[in-house]
């Protein structure tokens, strides 16, 4: 027996995969580990393995998990910057082929007070009333714009700005474009110009000062300027109401089955047939539920001030599930990092390590279940709108920009009416008493977002830049005008 065992043992050993030592894992959260509940932050993950291998890095943050397949060369350090939901505890699991599973935990400090990020090279104290100040070094600033959601205001000096990497600068510019509240201390003229030209909300949230005190004072003054409120799903309920596309299909299949069952019971008394009809019907229904393609839907809603250079958008990508099980939702490139619109819902987001971009999100879903991914971002826009009230309940809408407008819709006084296409410099005179009740969901949403006593102009947008956008995707740009301009 022993003679047989030795070759078997040798065979088993030769077939065993080469053992790889446990990977070295290092975590570096953005904002020195500070964030706010329900926001997004970023965690840097560095993984190093002694031998070439592949595997996955998974970060669990509350109900959200981000999974990244990775390939490592021998001795190579892989660096990932992963946007994650702000949770009190981040659990990172690194699983590499042939290596023991490596687990790390990262505790985040979640502040109930608004956070002020302070990036000052001389580490001088900075305070803003009502804010919790967090001292930062350049490496603490995130590489992705989404993580800027963790802080409510930021003060940076020129030395810190100069020390930022290009990806950090790009994210900072993105934050300025998203109406982020930023105070700069003695910024270089070039840096200031770049940030000011990119800033959203008419650059009202971007301030500068020659000293820390001056920058903080202006930042304090900017708090009196209300930040633009992004439309919520409730504001756009009419536009986002899920279409029951699966329900009619299920009704049709069950009605067909009952029809066949009644016919079978009418025309035959064969037990075999009467037993087989429901069994075959069940199999057919199960197969149909499994193979039905869920119909995705995309709604993009953008808003811009009358002469702003940047529009802020929110996008909702929704799918009505057709079966019980895992539902993969492809992430639409070009809309930014996605999050589950329902923060209480478990979601796993798959990242592409090479591009550093999310590629898919999967949910546990069931028939008739409605899952949605939310995106937010901004894009350059140029709609210089001037509205002048005239005698007799008329208004003049003037295109003061350099680009022509397509035909759109004017919302005012609880009614909507068509707005003709306008060339640069031209205007249209509209009678407010000719408005009519909104006929579609977009017009209803526009009315819901129209300032009280003001106006709003609504245009449909083309989604050329969104790869793989669903065929029936809709996108809208709303320009609310609070008062005559």
């Amino acid at each position: 027996m022993l003679g047989l065992r030795i070759p078997l043992l040798a065979l088993a050993l030769s077939a065993a995969p080469g053992a790889v030592a446990a990977p070295q894992v290092e975590l570096t959260p953005a904002w020195a580990g500070w964030s706010r509940p329900g926001r997004v932050t970023e965690v840097g993950v560095r993984v190093r393995a002694d031998a070439a291998t592949r595997g996955t890095v998974e970060i669990a943050a509350g109900r959200e998990a981000v999974r990244t397949p990775v390939e490592l060369a021998a001795g190579e350090t892989l660096q990932l910057e992963v946007p994650v939901a702000s949770a009190a505890l981040l659990e990172v699991a690194v699983e590499l082929d042939g290596a023991p599973r490596e687990r790390r935990e990262q505790v985040l400090s979640l502040s109930e007070s608004p956070l002020l990020g302070v990036g000052l090279a001389n580490a001088s104290p900075a305070r803003l009333e009502g804010f919790h100040a967090v001292a930062l070094v350049p490496a603490d600033l995130p590489r992705g714009t989404a993580a800027y959601a963790s802080v409510d205001a930021l003060v940076l000096d020129s030395a810190t700005l100069r020390a930022l990497e290009s990806r950090q600068l790009g994210a900072l510019i993105g934050h300025a474009a998203a109406c982020g509240r930023i105070g700069l201390v003695s910024p270089d003229p070039g840096a200031w110009r770049v940030l000011e030209s990119a800033a959203g909300c008419g650059a009202r949230m971007l301030v500068r000062g020659e000293s820390v005190e001056e920058a903080l004072g202006r930042l304090q003054d900017s708090l009196a300027v209300p930040a633009a409120t992004a439309p919520s799903a409730a504001d756009l309920a009419a536009l986002l109401r899920p279409e029951a596309t699966t329900w009619p299909r299920v009704v049709a299949v069950l009605v067909a089955f009952f029809g066949i069952g009644v016919l079978a019971a009418t025309f035959t008394a064969s037990s075999t047939v009467l037993l087989l009809v429901p069994v075959i019907g069940s199999g057919a229904l199960a197969a149909l539920l499994h193979f039905w393609e869920p119909q995705p839907r995309l709604v993009v809603w953008a808003e811009a001030e009358p002469s702003a250079r940047v529009a802020q958008y929110q996008a909702w990508q929704s799918i009505s599930a057709t079966a019980r099980g895992r539902l993969d939702v492809p992430v639409l490139a070009g809309l930014g990092p996605p999050r589950s619109c329902d923060r209480q819902r478990r979601v796993r987001i798959s990242m592409d390590a090479d591009r550093g971009q999310p590629v898919a999100a999967d949910f546990d879903a069931r028939l008739f279940d409605h899952v949605a991914l939310c995106y937010a971002g901004n894009f350059p826009v140029m709609r210089v709108v001037a509205i002048q009230p005239l005698e007799g309940g008329r208004i003049e809408v003037h295109n003061r920009g350099t680009l022509a407008w397509p035909a759109g819709t004017l919302a005012a006084g609880g009614a909507v009416q068509e707005l003709p296409a306008l060339d640069p410099g031209s205007s249209a005179t509209l009678r407010l008493d000719q408005g009519r009740p909104p006929a579609d969901a977009a017009a209803r949403a526009a009315l819901a977002r129209t300032p009280h006593g003001g106006y709003a102009l609504l245009w449909p947008l083309q989604l050329d830049t969104v790869a793989d956008a669903p065929a029936d995707a809709s996108a809208w740009l709303l320009v609310p005008v609070a008062e005559p301009t």
Binding site: L254, G261, A265, S270, L274, G281, S282, L285, R366, D369
Partner: protein
């Protein structure tokens, strides 16, 4: 009652129960979707109701069918009644969150009951030596079983209907 009538009656009873529950479930689901509400609870209620209705019908029906036509005919017609609702069970299970194992076990219990109760019905006929008293006894016994099923439904279905 002739054998063909019993077979068809089982199937039609099962279809009627399934159609009633399906109509309620789909209508309630449509309303919930319109209100952006969850539909899993409705599906769970539909599954529980469908199981309970079949279980309560099955007891007197299978005993009577076994007493009248013997266990083969009784089993065939009882199983027709049970399986007629399976497409609705599949759809509702797909829309719910209840574990699939529990749903499958509940259906297996109905199938076993659909096989065993007709045997009991035939035994009643053998014991009482006449179809009339056997059918009456089967009806009474089935009614008692249905009542017991109703009383114990909270335990058997895992929650209130």
């Amino acid at each position: 009652m002739s054998a063909p009538v019993t077979s068809r009656l089982g199937m039609l009873l099962g279809l009627a129960v399934a159609a009633t529950v399906a109509a309620w479930w789909l209508a309630a689901t449509r309303l919930a979707l319109g209100q952006s509400m969850g539909t899993a609870g409705i599906a769970a209620s539909a599954l529980a109701g469908l199981w309970l209705a079949r279980a309560m019908l099955l007891a007197p029906f299978a005993l009577r069918a076994g007493a009248l036509g013997g266990w083969r005919l009784g089993a065939a017609s009882s199983l027709s009644m049970v399986v007629a609702a399976w497409p609705v069970v599949i759809a509702a299970a797909s829309a719910g969150t209840r574990p699939a194992t529990g749903i499958v076990l509940a259906e297996i219990a109905l199938v076993i009951a659909g096989l065993v109760l007709p045997v009991a019905g035939q035994a009643l006929r053998t014991l009482l030596r006449a179809p009339g008293p056997a059918v009456l006894a089967g009806t009474v016994l089935g009614g008692a079983l249905a009542a017991a099923t109703w009383l114990w439904s909270r335990v058997w279905t895992g929650g209130p209907l």
